[in-house]
């Protein structure tokens, strides 16, 4: 069972039922569960979308798109059925927040899915979890069965004339499927390769019907937004960044864990107060602020508020909220190599700049880390990464290129220290084969 953590600075909205047995429906109902779905059913679509817009809630998967606006793009009239798709294919390295949501509060995900369905006029929703999360898939399936038994799902939800069905779907191992169009392909029983946009899923999505796709954390937040009221939720966060976020502190941090903090919370405080600083009293070398695809920040760059806009201004991204802390004993070339090794493994191969780019970056970095690099390789790595940017159907190519550019730019000296056949001057376990 993953360990739960706590800190006085936390504002527990999404996590407020964690550790309270709320995965069982009776307990969830005692803790005000399904009240927001009932209210949404009574108030109707326009009210829901207005509250969501007022909340300032932005997509927790990483892109940070305003949820209310996304829902409002779905056409009211549609010849084809509309769908809600919950993205629980959590796979971005550094990210494990949805893991806890599915474990401790699966009904919040179901309730949020119902509300999204009411907002856009869908009769069916899918909750897609990565296949490795089998015990969580079973937990969500059990919760869905409970909701059906109570009549919260089915032909006449909460005794109304409205129908809403939920299907829990298992993936089978693929980071790329976390990309929204690849997710739809996978759910249609195909290889998870991305679709070209436009058309956007809100117009042509799953089975060709208008589809809203939201991250599991976003969906789990929805019932709380309606319970508090959009404006009250917005007031918790920073400007244009409503509410809280589940930040996952990992790596060389003294107290790793998932903490729910207001949007805009200081990164420095997050590391040194909430997370207890760098493990073993070591010095901070770098921070990856929002999952492995976000460009690295230096110790002098951590006096920023953690919201989409401020992290963007600092030259990185808030991403998935996975904050990876790196101490001064770490080889950044090795870290860059491990990062790119992941993207090379996960590139679906559909777009050539990504397929070839990640492969060449891995080869170059492997050779470089082993001490066989040349000065020109550093520029080549940068050149390769720059030429992947913006040239692919989906953002995986960018996700590989952006952090690589960050590592080369900010740690060029470490790259230079690896030149001319020297063994890695930083690595502490060079016996590890990284190919």
């Amino acid at each position: 069972m993953p360990r739960l953590v706590s800190h006085p600075d936390e504002v527990k909205i999404v996590t407020r039922r964690f550790g309270m047995g709320a995965s069982k429906i009776d307990r969830y109902l005692e803790l005000d569960g399904y009240a927001s779905a009932r209210k949404a059913l009574a108030e109707g679509s326009d009210w829901i979308i207005n509250e969501m817009k007022a909340s300032g809630l932005r997509g927790r998967g990483g892109a940070g798109f305003p949820t209310g606006m996304k829902w409002s793009f779905v056409p009211k009239q549609s010849a084809k059925p509309k769908y809600v798709l919950v993205n629980g294919d959590e796979s971005e390295p550094g990210t494990c927040k949805d893991h806890l949501i599915f474990l401790h509060d699966p009904h919040a995900v179901i309730e949020g899915t119902i509300i999204a369905g009411l907002a856009i006029g869908a009769k069916m929703g899918f909750i897609y979890l990565r296949g490795e999360y089998r015990y969580l898939i079973e937990n969500v399936e059990r919760a869905v069965a409970e909701a059906y038994e109570r009549g919260f799902l089915g032909r006449n939800i909460f005794g109304s004339e409205t129908e809403f069905q939920v299907i829990v779907q298992s993936g089978a191992g693929a980071y790329e499927v976390g990309e929204e169009s690849a997710l739809m392909e996978s759910l249609e029983g195909k290889r998870g390769v991305p679709r070209i946009k436009p058309p956007f899923p809100a117009v042509v999505g799953l089975y060709g019907g208008p589809t809203v796709i939201n991250n599991a954390e976003t969906i789990a937040t929805v019932p709380h937004v309606l319970a508090m009221g959009g404006a009250a939720y917005a007031a918790v966060g920073s400007e244009r960044n409503g509410g809280t976020r589940l930040f996952g502190l990992s790596g060389h941090i003294a107290r790793p864990g998932v903490y729910e903090l207001p949007m805009g919370y200081s990164l420095r405080k997050m590391i040194y107060e909430v997370g207890g600083g760098v493990r073993g009293g070591r010095k901070l070398k770098a921070v990856v602020p929002g999952g492995s695809s976000t460009p690295v920040l230096l110790p002098e760059e951590i006096d920023i508020g953690m919201d989409f806009d401020q992290v963007g201004k600092a030259g990185s991204m808030l991403g998935s909220g996975g904050v990876v802390v790196i101490d001064d004993q770490t080889c950044m070339v090795e870290f860059a190599l491990r990062t790119i090794k992941f993207y090379q493994h996960e590139s679906c191969g559909w777009c050539i700049p990504c397929r070839e780019g990640t492969d060449w970056l891995k080869k170059s970095l492997t050779r470089f880390h082993a001490g066989f690099g040349t000065e020109k390789d550093i520029d080549n790595i940068q050149y390769l990464a720059e030429n992947m940017m913006g040239r692919t159907f989906c953002p995986l190519g960018d996700a590989a290129a952006m952090p690589t550019l960050g590592f080369v730019k900010k740690f060029r000296k470490e790259f230079e220290d690896h030149l001319h056949g020297k063994p890695c001057p930083y690595a502490h376990h060079p016996e590890v084969e990284l190919v």
Binding site: C96, E132, G171, G189, G248
Partner: protein, 170 residues
């Protein structure tokens, strides 16, 4: 239906598949979960499994293979009874994931994607498994083991070895 297809899956799994293909707007939406559940029971995606899944969905075996080869959890050769998956991605790497992986390699005498001679264990280095805040982490089949220390490696192997003996003597 061939006699082999009748006995390929347990009656429970066959019934589950009957329900699964009917539940979606499109039958082939059942494909990926079916392949995974079939693999859980049979051990891997044998030719017979692929043919039978194709028949149940109503697509060609080649189409099934085309999809199945995309997904990293699906395999076409048997793994050990307990498949040990060690995460070495960034958050786990920073907390000793590679040392854990090396230890499993030493203890089992096999490398990445290897299977022990007795078929009890197989080993894989895997990408992020979503346990970054509880690193280093591994999965044995579907069970997570979080915040591992090097000392725990032997205990984990002993635990599964004794489970395997119990299962074998049944």
């Amino acid at each position: 239906m061939s006699a082999e297809a009748m006995t390929l899956f347990s009656p429970e799994l066959a019934a589950r598949f009957d329900a699964l293909v009917e539940r979606y707007p499109v039958r082939r939406s059942a494909l990926i979960p079916m392949l995974l559940y079939a693999q859980d029971e049979v051990g891997y995606l044998s030719d017979a499994v692929i043919d039978e899944v194709a028949r149940r969905i109503g697509i060609t075996p080649l189409d099934v293979r085309n999809v199945a080869t995309y997904y990293s959890m699906l395999r076409f050769v048997p793994a050990g009874r307990y498949n040990i998956q060690v995460c070495t991605n960034i958050s786990c790497m920073l907390r000793g994931g590679y040392r854990i992986f090396e230890q499993f390699q030493e203890r089992l005498g096999i490398g990445h994607k290897g299977v022990t001679a007795d078929g009890v264990f197989s080993l894989e280095e895997v990408e992020c498994i979503g346990a970054c805040c509880w690193a280093p982490a591994i999965q044995v089949n579907y069970d997570f083991h979080d915040e591992l220390t090097e000392e725990q490696v032997d205990a984990i192997l002993d635990e599964y070895r004794s489970r395997s003996q119990k299962a074998g003597s049944r």
